[in-house]
Subunit: 296 residues, 2 copies
């Protein structure tokens, strides 16, 4: 599978694409991004189907607005180009990584007077997401939150997230949970849900919590399933000693948590986690199918 | 003057250099940087002289260490290459921008197992720094500090700084001061010094204060001049109502402050500011001269 990249309207092989050292993405982290999951459909011509593409693009627009960056494209225009790139590349299972920066300009903290944003996205194959309950549990460790205060913006200034994730890896874990004063917010690259007495608890979107798309879909799925949700920061105690614990992300959907700070807290995915994950995958199948039907 | 860039040992024109979209600098802000001022010497062959190059490179090493990045070069090796590039380009007055990232790798928060860091630096002409007291005063406005907690690392995750600087610009000011609870730390791209009763007050290096090289040189110059320094966060009151106020940065040296949150607080640079700036420029001349003498 050849990875293709679209940069401001031009398509090339990713391996042959060239960026600019003076892109503000490269010198100031002055940009925002999205990762969209692509699912294999029922076969036929073209590529797979990007799930919740519109929701991701709408968040990209909000993130851009959060850093005062005007986007020179409409959501439906970008969506069309993304779908075309997936079809051209033939990508079935994988992701599209998408980045929007304030463009190329001689280095200066001040915004360029007439910025020409760089929008690029490329295709990448990924293994299919395992069926609910078949993957190993995720090991979490708590870390200090050193990030900035606009985490609701999905910016490429990810250094603090990168350092947190690698701190977790050094401790033998898979993912880092940001913890402060006994409660937690989210993980370095995922949202967190604690389950207690049949109720989901997850942190509200805010300065330290990204509005995850999978998180949002899951809130809808939980409502359909009649599972109540409380939006407040889970306590560490709830995470460690609660009935179930799982994280959500675009590329991995739902992952059950087996370890907390080096201690095993569960030896299998919980019932509600499994039920939600099945309902989530049902939603994916429905939307992917509906998209393909509409395309016929 | 042709701008030249050195990238992992290869020299090309900056205008022809190509970066990679999957450089971790471009996707994660996973890198650190330096800006070194170049001063014109007494003429002769080659280019100008980079001031406090070793100090900048040693800070680059500390910043790299702060993000757990091993640098595959020694300070004296990089210094030699920087000087060679300045000479080749013929740059007399200007700067060298230098960046070190964790290199190119398929996107993943986890560090690559065998990273090949990207080190690049390029030359750029700048106008000479004005003589002490001849430039206009700088207008400052206070902004909320939304940055991460490792500001002592000179990382390329500069989005919060960029947004602060532009917030200041929208309010008709030149630079943003980070303020919290009535005291201030530093500015978006400079350190801050308040002068009261003949004493300098500047914030100590820490989670929210970068160890500025010009700041450090200035502390030494102040000691030579017998001007006492207290390292603590200046209060907003001291800044607004104190005898003198100035900021320091590599490219601008010392700049006196004329306005604070839209109100004129001084109509000319203060005596101590001027004395320190003259002493600072004397130090620059001495070091540039000494370097050129050593080269003969």
């Amino acid at each position: 599978m050849t990875e293709l990249i679209w940069v401001n309207g031009k398509v090339t092989k990713l391996s042959e694409a060239t960026a600019n050292y003076e892109d503000r993405g490269h010198q100031f982290a002055d940009g925002v991004y999205e990762v969209v999951r692509v699912y294999k459909g029922r076969g036929g011509s073209g590529g797979g189907v990007p799930f919740t593409l519109t929701e991701h693009l709408e968040r990209l627009m909000r993130s851009a607005d959060g850093i005062r960056l005007d986007v020179p494209y409409r959501v439906d225009e970008i969506a069309g180009e993304v779908r075309k790139l997936i079809d051209t590349s033939g990508l079935q299972e994988g992701m599209v990584y998408m980045q929007l920066t304030r463009g190329i300009a001689p280095r200066n903290h001040l915004f360029p007077k007439k910025p020409v944003p760089t929008l690029y996205f490329f295709t990448r194959e990924l293994p299919p997401v395992p069926a609910p309950g078949t993957a190993e549990g995720v090991k979490l460790v708590t870390v200090e939150d050193e990030r900035w205060k606009r985490c609701w913006v999905k910016s490429i200034a990810l250094l603090a997230n990168v350092l947190a994730k690698n701190e977790a890896a050094e401790k033998g874990a898979d993912e880092a949970v940001f913890s402060e004063g006994g409660t937690v917010t989210e993980c370095s690259a995922s949202n967190l849900f604690a389950v207690g007495r049949g109720v989901l608890v997850t942190a509200p979107v805010g300065p330290k919590v990204l509005p995850g798309i999978t998180r949002q879909v899951l809130l809808e799925v939980a409502a359909e399933q009649g599972i109540p949700v409380i939006e407040r920061n889970p306590t560490e105690y709830e995470c460690r000693c609660g009935e179930e614990l799982f994280i959500t992300s675009t590329t991995r959907e739902l992952s059950w948590v087996s370890h907390w700070n080096g201690v095993q807290i569960h030896d299998r995915p919980g019932e509600i986690t499994l039920r939600l994950h099945r309902a989530f995958q049902e939603r994916v199948r429905r939307e992917v199918g509906a998209y393909q039907t509409a395309m016929v």
